[in-house]
Each structure stands twice: as structure tokens, then as C-alpha cells.
């Protein structure tokens, strides 16, 4: 009886742990997405009447017991109109519905009474935030989110959108996958086919590499690829005008190669495990038809291990989206002058520096001069990064599940 009661307690414990894990995951996802979307939510504009008879329009951005922090109209540049107004000085407080908030192309916000709206060429958005209905607020948020995704950043870094960072992330993921998948599959195939001490050494090396902290890959990429390989390329190709390095500086190619190196172990391990799961009877069937071990691998085992290959790809994509630390050493910048992918020949520019959403999170949250804008901007970048990673993974997972479905009886 006691054993049975113990089992029940164990079941409850496991159930509780599982529920905790699921709850934590959902809470995390909801928090990131809500915070990210919250960055686009139109704030109401308050009008304060002060003791000296003046009036101030602005968005409340914080405050404490003694004072209110307000963002007033930014006349010159974004971030120049943060005000701290003592509560004792406030004699009147209202949210007039006729207030117009204008967002300028350079990221500045100005507020004015509706009757005073002047035609302003630099306005990208003019709204009456206090008069908006809930659906209108939602619509405005979505429009802002769309503009955030589809436009380039302002010089300040926190205004404008993240299109270059999004493009940089996607290009990096694509290039990294192109580099790592053939090499990873080939290495896994080698380990699968061969026996002996050489294989044991290679496997031990790969298992070790899988545990190396990612920043170490960044250092290796910087030393070996950027300075070593890139520097040599520059000396050979551009010896006559060495003042500005072309290849000997961080860039998309070096970053993609570094990330390929970083993700190689997980791809190899995943593919090899997939190959090992293929039943011996299938290998025997192929050999009995006159196939060599190599032919069996390429024609039967690898096609049958496609779900495992896609699992490896999912892991590689996830790490490429997430590991920002090594990228900072090999080519990611806060603000890139040009996209790595554009309409001019040769379309893909592997030597160019690029932007990455993960790094945008870092710069917006930590390196911005305007923290009040920076933190919501960081959340928005983080939410977009999560959406990108999940979308890329979903594609691979749907593909994998379709294959699994097709081959579900494998190994019975």
C-alpha cells in the first residue's frame, strides 16, 4: 500500500513540475510579447496646469511621491524634453481630447492643442491619443509595429524601425545554415560509417566543442577568421590601399562562418543520432540488394534520417538567432551603413558589417542615451527576435512532423 501511495505522490510531484514548467514558459512568452507590443501602445497625453500659470503637455513616463516625470514636446531632437515636475507645483490635471500628438520622421514627438496643428512635412503620424477608442488604439499599435518592422532606424538608434537588423538576422541564419548543414551531415556520415580510434577522437572533440561557451567561438572567429584569414586576403587583394580593411574587419561572412562553427556540434550530434536510430534490418536489407555501405548511407539511411537532419537545423537556427556574444566580435554593429543584401551586384555582400536583432536588444537596453525610449525598444526587438526564431523553427518542425508522419512506423 505504501508503495502505491508513494507512486501517487510521485505522479503529483511530476505533474506539478510539468505544470510549473509549462506555466513558466507561457508566462515568459506572454511577458516578452506583451512588453514588446506595449512599446507601440499609444500613450495618453496629459495637460498639467502649474502654479505659475503655465501649462505643459506631455506623456507621463514615470514618477514618485514628490514629482512626475514627463516627456514634453521635443523641439530639437528626440530625448531633449524630459521634465521633472514637482507634484506640489501642479494645480490642474486633465486629458483634453483635442490634443494632437505628432511623431516626426527623426523620432521626435511633439504635442499641441488641436486648434494649433500646423502642417508639418516631417510628420509621419498625427493622432489624437486621448480621443482614441480601444480598436483605434489597437489599430494604431499594429500600424506602428508594421512601421517598426519595415523601416530603417533613426540616427539615434531608438527611433524608427529595425528592418536592417531583421534582414541581417535572416541573412545570417540563411548563410550559417548553408555552411553548417552540408559539413555537419558529412561529418555525421563519416562518424557513422567508420570505426576505430580516429572516429572516437573526432567524436570526443565534437562533444567537447558542444560545451564550449559561445564567446570563445567569437574570439576564435576574430583571431582566426577576421584577422587571420581576412587580414591575409586583404594583404593579397588590396595591398596597394590597405588603409581601410575590406576583409580584415568583422563582416557577414566571418560571422556566418563563426556561427557555423558554433552550431556544427549540435548538427553533427543530432544527425548522427538520427542515423543510429535507423534499424539494423533496414541496413541489412540495403546491403542484401548489393548496395555498399556508402550507397546504403546516401540512398537509404540519410533520406530516412531527414527528421533528425531537420532537428539539427532547428537547433542551428535557434543558436544563430540567440548567440549575440560571439557576433559582437566578428561583424555585428549597432548601426550598419548598408544592408548585407541589396539590389546592387553581387546582391549579397559578405564583407559588410551587419545588424542583428539580438544585438539591437543589447544596444537599445544598455547603450542608448534615451533609456525611457530604449527599454521599450529593446522589448520590441526581443519580441520580434522571438517571433523570428519561432517562425523559422515552426517551418522546420512542421516539415519534420510531416516526414515523421510519413515514416511513423519506422523501427517498429
Amino acid at each position: 500500500m505504501s508503495g502505491r501511495r508513494g507512486d501517487a505522490a510521485g505522479t503529483w510531484l511530476l505533474g506539478g513540475l510539468a505544470a510549473t514548467a509549462v506555466a513558466a514558459m507561457l508566462a515568459f512568452g506572454a511577458y516578452v510579447l506583451a512588453s514588446g507590443f506595449g512599446a507601440f501602445w499609444p500613450a495618453r497625453v496629459v495637460e498639467l496646469g502649474l502654479r505659475d500659470g503655465s501649462r505643459v503637455l506631455g506623456e507621463v513616463v514615470g514618477g514618485d511621491a514628490r514629482a512626475i516625470a514627463l516627456r514634453g514636446s521635443e523641439r530639437l531632437r528626440a530625448g531633449d524634453a524630459y521634465l521633472r515636475i514637482a507634484r506640489a507645483d501642479i494645480v490642474a490635471q486633465s486629458w483634453p481630447s483635442e490634443v494632437v500628438a505628432i511623431l516626426h520622421a527623426d523620432g521626435r514627438r511633439t504635442f499641441m492643442r488641436g486648434d494649433a496643428v500646423a502642417s508639418d512635412d516631417s510628420a509621419v503620424e498625427a493622432t489624437r491619443p486621448n480621443a482614441l477608442s480601444l480598436p483605434a488604439r489597437l489599430g494604431l499599435s499594429l500600424a506602428r509595429a508594421a512601421r517598426f518592422i519595415a523601416t530603417a532606424p533613426e540616427a539615434g538608434g531608438v527611433g524608427g524601425g529595425v528592418l536592417p537588423a531583421l534582414a541581417g538576422t535572416l541573412t545570417l541564419v540563411l548563410l550559417t545554415s548553408l555552411f553548417v548543414m552540408p559539413v555537419g551531415i558529412g561529418a555525421a556520415a563519416f562518424l557513422h560509417l567508420r570505426r576505430g580510434p580516429a572516429v572516437r577522437i573526432v567524436r570526443a572533440a565534437i562533444d567537447t566543442l558542444a560545451g564550449v561557451p559561445s564567446i570563445v567561438y567569437g574570439v576564435v572567429g576574430l583571431g582566426l577568421l577576421v584577422h587571420g584569414l581576412g587580414g591575409s586576403l586583404d594583404r593579397v587583394l588590396h595591398a596597394d590601399r590597405l588603409a581601410v580593411p575590406t576583409w580584415g574587419a568583422g563582416g557577414l561572412l566571418w560571422a556566418a562562418l563563426t556561427m557555423a562553427l558554433l552550431t556544427l556540434p549540435v548538427v553533427v550530434i543530432s544527425v548522427e543520432e538520427g542515423l543510429q536510430r535507423i534499424p539494423e534490418s533496414l541496413r541489412g536489407g540495403s546491403l542484401a540488394l548489393g548496395a555498399t555501405r556508402e550507397e546504403t548511407l546516401w540512398r537509404m539511411s540519410l533520406p530516412a534520417a531527414r527528421p533528425a537532419v531537420l532537428t539539427g537545423l532547428v537547433l542551428a537556427i535557434t543558436r544563430t538567432c540567440g548567440a549575440v556574444a560571439p557576433l559582437m566580435l566578428v561583424g555585428v554593429v549597432e548601426l550598419a551603413p548598408a544592408l548585407p543584401l541589396d539590389g546592387t551586384f553581387p546582391y549579397l555582400h559578405p564583407a559588410r558589417q551587419f545588424m542583428h536583432l539580438g544585438f539591437s536588444v543589447h544596444t537599445a537596453a544598455l547603450a542608448s542615451t534615451d533609456a525611457i525610449r530604449g527599454v521599450p525598444h529593446a522589448y520590441a526587438c526581443a519580441a520580434l527576435l522571438v517571433v523570428v526564431a519561432i517562425t523559422l523553427n515552426l517551418v522546420a518542425i512542421v516539415l519534420r512532423n510531416r516526414l515523421r508522419e510519413r515514416y511513423r512506423e519506422l523501427g517498429t
Binding site: S286, L287, L289, G290, P303, A304, R406
Partner: protein, 268 residues
């Protein structure tokens, strides 16, 4: 041992001695240090069904896998002696194993279709031979499926996964896969042991038909099946051939006491 003159061919009552497809002489086999076959002498008749029967561990499957060198994949395997397929010594070191396996096909205990489409399963061996695509490939795939009695059941799902077929269909699919490359000999390692009675019956009918074109070597634990199916039978015990002869006489009038005990279920 040659085919014993005292045993007459059961097929149609004709006394014509069939030609020999595979001749095993002085075959001895070890796994690591354990000897599993000793002094095997066997002449497997052409275009007949020869059953290998015997208790578990008697070496039936090991002998079968010597005939297409599939034992080579097992670490520690070693064999001595001769296995002649026509002029080729299967057991010799320099033999082209891939070419040999194309001449000696095999069907396993459990159906083992590849996780590919029905079509690609049958085309697998043909593609290994360099037949990439085109009318010739399609013709031979269709012919093999016809020969395996599967065409009518899969004609509309050639591109569907082979794993969606029933067990019986899967076993006939792997037979189609094996005969698509036109082997001379087909080795069958307890091919019906995973099938239900109806599928087993279907498979046995198919094997009888195939025996008109191919030499079949059948390992089976099922004495009724051996008696029903086989033209010749070899009884193995402890790595040796105790008795070999036409199935009728081996089952009705065994020469050896061991054989009689085994087929009547008194063995040990």
C-alpha cells in the same frame, strides 16, 4: 553431399535430376571463437524450393547468410570452405560481394521496407545498377510488382509510403524489391513468421510461383510449411547437416533418428 539418388524428385513425379544452383562444400563458420557451422556439404537444386529446418541455434540462418555473404557485416565472423554459385566461389576473399548479392537476393524475417515510397523501394536495387529513371525503370518496377502479386493492390499508391502497407503487403513488397534486379537465387529467412495465417497463405502461393523462375532457399521453423512448400529439405542440428533429401521422403521416411525426432516434435 549430392542430391541423393534414393530420393526422387517430388515435382510432378519426374525423375529428372535438377541442375545445381549453389554447391556448398566443406563450409565451416565461426563467430569469434564459437564454431557455428561445421563441414556443411549441400547441393541446392536449381529452380526448386529448398527448406533448411532444424532447432533454434542449429545454424540455419548462419548458413543462409553465408550464401550472400551478409555475415561479413558481423564483427568476428570467419568462414572456410567453398560456396559455388556457377563458377564463382562465393566464399573466396576476392569475390565482388555487391555483384554476388545482386545474384543472390534475400528476404528477411520481418518485413523491412525502406522508409521510401512503394515505387522507390522496388526501384532501389535497379538504381544501384545505374538504371536512374525512364521507361525501362518503370517497366521493371511494374514487372517486379506483378511478379510479387502486389501490383493490383499498390498500382494507385506507388508514391505512397511503403510503411503504410499491411505486413503481408510489405513482405511481398520486399520480395518485389529483391526480384526486381533479376537474381538467380532468393534466400528467405523465416519470411512468414511475422504474418497472420491469411497473409502467410498468400505468401506461400507466391513463393510456389516464384520457384518456377528462381532458386529458393527457405529457412523455416514451421514443419507444416516446410512440408507444404519445399521440394527438398535439409535438417540441421548443432551446425551440421544431419540429413538432406526430397521433402516427401525426408518427412515420411527419414533415414536418421534425429530427423524423425525433430519432425515429430520429440527432439530433446
Amino acid at each position: 553431399m549430392t542430391i541423393d539418388a534414393r530420393h526422387h524428385s517430388p515435382a510432378g513425379g519426374l525423375d529428372v535430376q535438377p541442375a545445381v544452383a549453389l554447391r556448398v562444400a566443406g563450409l565451416r563458420v565461426w563467430y569469434e571463437r564459437r564454431q557455428v557451422l561445421d563441414g556443411i556439404e549441400l547441393a541446392i537444386p536449381d529452380k526448386r524450393i529448398t527448406a533448411l529446418i532444424g532447432p533454434s541455434g542449429s545454424g540455419k540462418s548462419s548458413l543462409l547468410r553465408c550464401l550472400n555473404r551478409l555475415n561479413d557485416e558481423i564483427a568476428g565472423f570467419r568462414m572456410e570452405g567453398q560456396v559455388l554459385l556457377g563458377e564463382v566461389d562465393v566464399a573466396a576473399g576476392g569475390t565482388d560481394v555487391q555483384e554476388l548479392r545482386r545474384r543472390v537476393g534475400m528476404v528477411f524475417q520481418r518485413p523491412n521496407p525502406f522508409p521510401l515510397s512503394v515505387h522507390d523501394n522496388v526501384a532501389y536495387g535497379l538504381r544501384l545498377l545505374g538504371l536512374r529513371r525512364g521507361a525501362e525503370l518503370e517497366r521493371r518496377v511494374e514487372a517486379a510488382l506483378h511478379a510479387a502479386g502486389l501490383w493490383d493492390e499498390v498500382a494507385d499508391r506507388l508514391d505512397g509510403s511503403a510503411l503504410e502497407l499491411s505486413f503481408g503487403q510489405q513482405q511481398r513488397l520486399v520480395i518485389a524489391r529483391a526480384i526486381a534486379v533479376e537474381p538467380e537465387v532468393l534466400l528467405l529467412d523465416e519470411p512468414a513468421s511475422a504474418l497472420d495465417p491469411a497473409a502467410t497463405l498468400h505468401l506461400e502461393e507466391l513463393l510456389r510461383t516464384l520457384a518456377q523462375r528462381y532458386t529458393l532457399v527457405l529457412v523455416t521453423h514451421n514443419m507444416q510449411q516446410a512440408a507444404r512448400m519445399a521440394d527438398y529439405a535439409a535438417f540441421l542440428d548443432a551446425g551440421r547437416i544431419v540429413e538432406f533429401g526430397a521433402t516427401d521422403s525426408l518427412f515420411t521416411n527419414p533415414r536418421e533418428r534425429l530427423t524423425e525426432d525433430f519432425i515429430t516434435g520429440r527432439h530433446r
